[in-house]
């Protein structure tokens, strides 16, 4: 890495086109920031930092060649080799310049003892496929620079998990070019959080937004540990034709000193709606804003903090319906009256 290439990039300086340098998640958070949508402030440890780190490891003892030599069906070998590589990544210090740059940026982002989230940000489209989803890591409520630097290495190491490596080997992907950005973002102390889809996940309807949410951090909703409340909000009228309030038996909350844990939801909250109608409308508005900005339906993670501020944690293109080729519902007719025959003519 040359002296001019910075180790970190702040969200407001990057966008989707920077994906090769900051990964998809980082680029998307930068894009949202630029679009004027509130996201928890943060930065990305650029892929060059990872590249420089791995090149140094490779020079000390071959790494990429060993991975490329693996047979994905030989699970024992994959397990043994990747475990060793992950241990090397987790135990090797970062180059001094990179280490200093991360610590300095962190001091600017989060004051003493303030928690952050450390999230992997993969560079390849593949990594956003369902087949790859969940293969990289997110660490919540990380406190202190040493911990943050350690989690950056853990994110990098996750590229060498058994699953990731098997996936690359099965698809014959070269190891050169495998890279990862790491997002470091101020942690939201979420009163409630969840996901939203800017088209119906069940019918594909583009005129409604489906919102799911539960008490505490959004990780419980994303991982499916709790049945979230669910609403359908019409984009244009704001009507809420569906309100399913569930029994949210647990919530995820921060652990003093770092990390998160499950706790039982207080009895009076379990069956209470976690969002007000005003918050639902605000979510709908920001969902539409993101969708307009990207020009296509979005799959969004959101949180509302203890002060009631609404923040987006992630926004990515909706993939299920967008890839279905739907025939047009109807086409214009030379004589517009011909449409009437669908009702009167017995033709459906």
């Amino acid at each position: 890495m040359s002296a001019e290439t910075p180790v970190v990039a702040w969200f407001d300086a990057i966008g989707l086109s920077d994906r090769p340098a900051v990964g998809g998640k980082g680029g998307s958070l930068g894009e949202l920031t630029r679009a004027g949508i509130a996201v928890p402030p943060g930065l990305v440890v650029r892929t060059e930092a990872f590249e420089q780190f791995v090149v140094a490891l490779d020079a000390a003892e071959p790494l990429r060649a060993r991975i490329e030599a693996l047979d994905p069906d030989d699970l024992d070998a994959v397990s043994a080799v990747t475990a060793k590589i992950r241990a090397r990544i987790e135990q090797t210090s970062l180059p001094a310049a990179a280490d200093a740059a991360i610590r300095s940026a962190l001091a600017q982002l989060a004051g003493d003892g303030q928690p952050v989230a450390v999230r992997s940000s993969a560079t390849t489209e593949d990594a956003e496929d369902a087949s790859f989803a969940g293969l990289q890591d997110t660490y919540l409520w990380v406190i202190g620079a040493d911990q943050v630097v350690a989690k950056v290495r853990s994110c990098w190491a996750s590229l060498y998990s058994v699953e990731s490596v098997c996936y690359r080997r099965k698809h014959g992907l070269p190891e050169v070019g495998v890279a990862m950005g790491v997002v470091i973002q101020r942690m939201v102390d979420a009163r409630c959080a969840g996901v939203m889809f800017t088209r119906s996940p069940t019918t594909g309807d583009r005129s409604v937004i489906t919102i799911e949410g539960a008490w505490g951090l959004g990780s419980a909703v994303v991982s499916g540990e709790v049945t979230p409340d669910r609403w359908v909000v019409a984009k244009l009228t704001g009507e809420i034709p569906v309100r399913d309030i569930s029994d949210k038996h647990i919530r995820q909350v921060p652990t003093p000193g770092g990390g998160i844990h499950d706790e039982e939801t207080p009895a009076d909250l379990r069956r209470a709606a976690c969002l007000t109608d005003a918050e639902l409308q605000a979510l709908k508005d920001v969902g539409r804003q993101a969708e307009r900005h990207y020009g296509r339906p979005q799959d969004i993670e959101w949180a509302i903090d203890q002060d009631g501020a609404l923040l987006l944690l992630q926004s990515r293109p909706e993939t299920v319906w967008s890839t279905k080729e739907a025939a047009p519902v109807a086409a214009p007719q030379a004589n517009p009256l011909a449409h009437l025959m669908t009702v009167f003519g017995g033709r459906k």
Binding site: T203, P328, A330, Q333, L337, L340, T342, G346
Partner: protein, 604 residues
Amino acid sequence: MLQKVKGFPLPSSVKVAPGTEGAQAAYPYYMQFEPGDDQRFWFYNSMHFPEPMTVFDMVTAEAAYVALGASNTRVHSLPTTKGIDYRIINGRVYIGGNGVTDPAEIDQRVGEFQQRAFYYYENWERLYAQWKGKMGRLIADAEALPKLELPEFEPLENVHAGKGVASSHTLLETWQKSIEGYFRMWHHHFEFLLLGYGAYMVFFEFCKKAFPEITDQTIARMVAGFEAEIFRPDDEVKRLSRRAIELGVDHKFIDGMSADEVLASLRASGDAGQSWLDELETSRNPWFNVNVGDGFYHYHRSWNDDLSLPFAAIPDYIAKIRAGENIDRPTEKLMAERQALIEGYRELLGSDDERGAYDQMIALACRVFPYVEGHKFYCEHWYTNLFFNKVREFGGLLAQHGFFDDGEDVFHLSRYEVEQAIVDLMTSWGNGSPPRGLTRWRPIIAQRKAAITTWAAMDSSPALGEVPDIIDDPAIVMLWGITRETLDSWLHQGEGDPNELKGFAASSGVVEGTARVVRSVQEIGKLKQGDILVCQVTNPTWAPVFQKIAAAVSDIGGSMSHAAIVAREYGLPAVVGTGRATERIPDGARIRVDGGRGIVTILG
């Protein structure tokens, strides 16, 4: 194990309530069930006829189905449906569609339809303007019918003029003209109606396919007009409230005071009072010719017959104007909202092809919709009021000559029987003997009144006969909103939460409050600010009530019913067509209305 399929009773298994056989027999033979009817599907038309029909009031069904059938079958040749068959038992009107299923016949009818209905669509504005002229003349003719009188001697001038036709003949002539005009009005009513609904349905079904989760009410809002006649009566009450302030007579309108008392006090208020009364006359003709029902019962009187409803609203409007509130309908805002919806949904469509089709469909729906919204004022309200009031006048004349105790009793005779009584009276006037009807009608009327009471207390099955696999008769779907899903919900009625009622989601929003069960216009005074109105039929004449209430629930009506439209204008949650809200919700109960989902919950 085979599950027993739930079904509806066969018509032949429905027995006439004991003691009401005579009253049942009073309905014409062509309305009675017959054995062959067991093979067909019938449903109770609770939308138009929620209460047992007196034998005279059945003319509203009879004339309507004569005209509907003619329009569908012979005039426009709807390809897949003909007319509606109807039967009455225990005072309840059951109807069944006549679908066309033979492909060759459908093809032939398609050819006819495209020469007939298409011509109407292509020339809609001209033909609708012509329709208004025809209706205007029909109304003028009805208003010009002579007052009924039988003088002691034929007026001398008639004799000297050599008129040669005695006064008694005017009774028969006026009666027959009244019946003829009423049947004619129904032909006018259906001249455009199915075509109008059809164009709306095309757009509706497109929206449901393109946006599977769009609500019915949103589609309705995209097509709704703003200058429609249904808003005028309420607008006139607002205008009169404003004039009362301008003329300085606003203090004469006191909450709880009867209309007669207010009128008397205005008459005693000099020029200002007189000016306001003149304004009232302008509003009354024609805009107070709205009846408090849907035009199917003689006892749903008009504002002109009973000023209590509009007068009850005036003190509230005056208070709002005094408080600086703008009570006018925000037409411009509503139009902007409608335009934003049309453009917003257009933008969300998936392709330019869809946008092209959408543009064509909404353009057609918006062109035809003024008729769908406007016709009721002229037909079911204005003309129907004139008709029932003329029948009432005959009732008064017959009562005066001793046929019955009360003129209103005339509505317990069929239209054929009224004509018999008229001829009886004419005969008696001519030959000098007492009418034969003096002894005939009283016991019959007593029997029929008792039957109505018996029938009103009976449960009636929502449907009879074999359950069809699908309901695709466009007339049934358009006019009654009945689908296969509706039948399933009827079959499973009473199996859900006893504290929950389902209906059409007519206007969205969730509200909790006190239920006020209002069974007739006389009970409207019970409503307090913030109450939830629970009524049988909601209709435009109740519009002034909407300023007071927090939500509306009705037994009858669909998402295009007038009440649904008014509720949306006022931004109030509304659930309509719940079936039995007035029966199941106790007056004063706390209820929750979820207008977006069409659910009413009784909380306690």
